[in-house]
Amino acid sequence: MITLSPEPVMMGGVSARNHLVLAAGVLGTCASSLSRMLRSGAGAVVTKSIGPEPRFGHPGPCLVVLEDGLMNAMGLPNPSKQFQDELSALSGEPVIVSIFGGNPEQFHEVAGWFADKAQAFELNVSCPHASGFGAQIGTNPDIVKACTEAVKEWKKPAWVKLTPNVTDITSIGKAAEEGGADAIVAINTVRAMRISTGMRRPVLGNKYGGLSGKAIFPIAVRCVYELYEACSIPIIGCGGVSCAEDVIEMMMAGAQGVEIGSAIVRDPDIFSHICKDLYAPDGISPREIVGCAHG
């Protein structure tokens, strides 16, 4: 297997310890769990998505573990502005604050709360199951561009996380690029549903949810590949990455780094385990493989 040389990583304006970033929504609500992930080898961490008002999220069940992935509908629970207190405990660490809003003004306001503490922002325009937020914003290129511009007013790196639940993901990627995004993160979860045959009802409290994990890795690779052809800003691959080989494959599709989330459910020390396999003193530079599958 290909290994990479351990070297300082700069991706999308973020200085990270390695190419593996904790994805938004996973162990990201408090400083203590985020620093736990950094201690266990994450190169950077993305927080839980923070929005304009505190939210309790959807009624349960909010998540089920499937054979090859997770299906969830958390409903964007978050402490809103009070997340500032948690972030204070992480100053100096590679922390990317995920934010959401219902319009460009709200994105601007929420980003402003964390502008002096975050190393970068990740715009959640892709959560597939929260009314008025997420993918309802992120399927419209004009709104994505406007939200990105609004956040960029704070002069911080801005990553834009895209939904795969669109006909053409490149039109949204290009909109983010035009809005001044420093990187595109692809992809968020794939809209999904399971029904409990015993209860004769959808299993999630919100009925609809998002599928993540190994099951969506091929979709994520395809999206990264398409975006690499269409856009020129860096891409962070996200969706089902669960071993070092997956990281290499994402890079070949065009990703400069990856985000990892659902794989935590099988292996809480996933970051240190992937690092062990991915990096070697005689490894090659990622520059040699990023996008190499495009010929």
Partner: protein, 268 residues
Amino acid sequence: MLLMGYLPGKLWGVPMAEGLPVTVTITKVVKESPGVTTVFFDREFESCIGQFVMVWVEGTDEIPMALSYKNAITIQRVGDATTRLVAMKPGEKLGIRGPFGNGFRLHGKILAISGGAGTAPLLRVGLECPDVTFLMGARTADELIFHKMLTEKCDVRVATDDGSAGFHGYVAGLLDEISLDEYDTIVVCGPDPMMRSVLSVLQKRSSLEKSQFSMHRYMKCGVGVCGSCCMDPDGLCVCRDGPIFSGLSLQNSELGKYHRNAAGLKEK
């Protein structure tokens, strides 16, 4: 990760159950006290004592509950889902995910210490283990649960806040008459302030190493992903690293100081 104060040997709980919720049918509903009800269902879940399940009350919510028996949960009415649960009738259905979490490590002579509905997760300790002393606290005599059943199996001592049964005061006060050296395992479950005061007593009497506390926090996923139940300062997930924690690992924790609500906001 040496900072993590887990029970020795297991770094991240036991392998977890997977899949969609299992549908069970309620077979029996037993009122244990004015505020506490046990709901039995038609399926036993193989589980370690101390593990929990996520209980789906269709149309309302899904909540974490300890298994009081392999085929039952014992509910204190506190919110929407528990209010629905205690009103359910035999024949109605629930969805169960789990069991999840790590469970107690039980050996030798056991001291069980419970407060209020915290007796339920310890019930099987008293019923299944051979040599148990059970210290049980409640606000009033009416609110003692499983008292008669446990008295037939083990040495039960009672404390009530109003003195209507047993020792007049908190359950931690009963520890004065207990020689802790005699016990190999100490298990504790109850409201946060009660567990913190028991922890303080055990700390003073150098018995924390053999103590295990059953923690409760707001949960969404139950499998160590969403982070709703993480505790400070180590970022431990109650659902996956716990719910049973060594007293040693809780000394400097948030226990008894605050917890986070569904939005992740700290509450006293």
